[in-house]
Symmetry: C2
Subunit: 191 residues, 2 copies
């Protein structure tokens, strides 16, 4: 369980093996049922989550009461409302399990203490966030550039497994489509 | 000049003063005229830029040959095509000076060498990228949520000085408006 996070860290930076034991005490393992919330919009956000198993979505409530999905996270992804996490304020997003989820959670205080003990981990987080930010630049490009049909085609190509796991109405929300339009596109692509 | 970067680093992490001298050799100071390119879409991207003075925009060329602005950067902001920077591939964005620009540039190789000598800097970049990524989450929320008029109002409130510095046709592109629509909104807001 912890090994999964250690393996992920190992892909980005070298932590001496005899220091690995320092990491575990700062994390808490939590499980969430399908549709359970990891974080609720409007409540204080003091944790970030490393997904061990399952899939979650990040969303907010629109004025009309519907959920707008703005992101997903799968195994080995970090997720949180990072503005709220870093400022220790109330969340402007909810995070909710799409499948049963196991996650390692770390509070902002614990992260601060961990990085003090093991500053080498900053190299890991530097690379993780650089990747995430780079992906968000590309995502903006796709959002501005691609016609809706192309956006869906691009998503299918980039994340084929993912498209199988995520219910279609959530994917439609993420892509900014109505569920009906997504259903039409799917029929078109299958035929 | 270098002091400006050191001050910025000092806001996020503590580098021992006797190690500051290690940083400068890895950077190159460059100046760019108004409208000059810092980075050109399609060319290899091997640098990232810390803006000392001036203002730049990040954009790509749409199929119809017009520039789509997806971001700006001002004094004390880092900018690059971060996917291309980390993978050392060709840029999918251009970066161009809106005003005369002074920047400190660091290549991917130099950054690698600098972080080897001064791993403490990872804490700085971790925080810088976490902030940037957090801002991009909020930006997605505004893009999905706000009607166009509100988006402009929000932008004016968040970045009042900025709105004065950036030509209106670039701001219109960034907000996804036509220049004519932005001009109408401005008249409405002034009256």
């Amino acid at each position: 369980m912890m090994q999964q996070l250690l393996d992920h860290i190992g892909r980005y930076c070298a932590i001496p093996a005899d220091k690995n034991y320092l990491i575990e005490p700062f994390f808490e393992r939590k499980t969430f049922k399908k549709k359970e919330f990891l974080l609720i919009e409007g409540q204080r956000c003091s944790e970030k989550f490393f997904i061990l198993k399952g899939c979650v979505h990040l969303s907010y409530l629109k004025q009309n009461g519907t959920e707008q999905i703005i992101d997903f996270a799968l195994e080995n992804w970090w997720t949180s409302d990072f503005t709220a996490f870093q400022q220790r304020t109330t969340a402007q997003f909810s995070i909710r399990a799409i499948e049963p989820v196991e996650a390692l959670c770390i509070s902002a205080d614990n992260q601060h203490a961990l990085l003090k003990q093991l500053p080498e981990l900053n190299a890991y987080f530097h690379k993780v966030f650089q990747r995430s930010y780079a992906a968000s630049q590309m995502r903006l490009r796709y959002l501005y550039e691609l016609p809706k049909e192309e956006l869906y085609r691009h998503f299918l190509q980039q994340f084929p497994d993912f498209t199988q796991r995520v219910p279609q109405y959530l994917l439609a929300s993420f892509l900014g489509f109505t569920p009906e339009y997504l259903s039409e596109l799917r029929k078109k692509f299958i035929s």
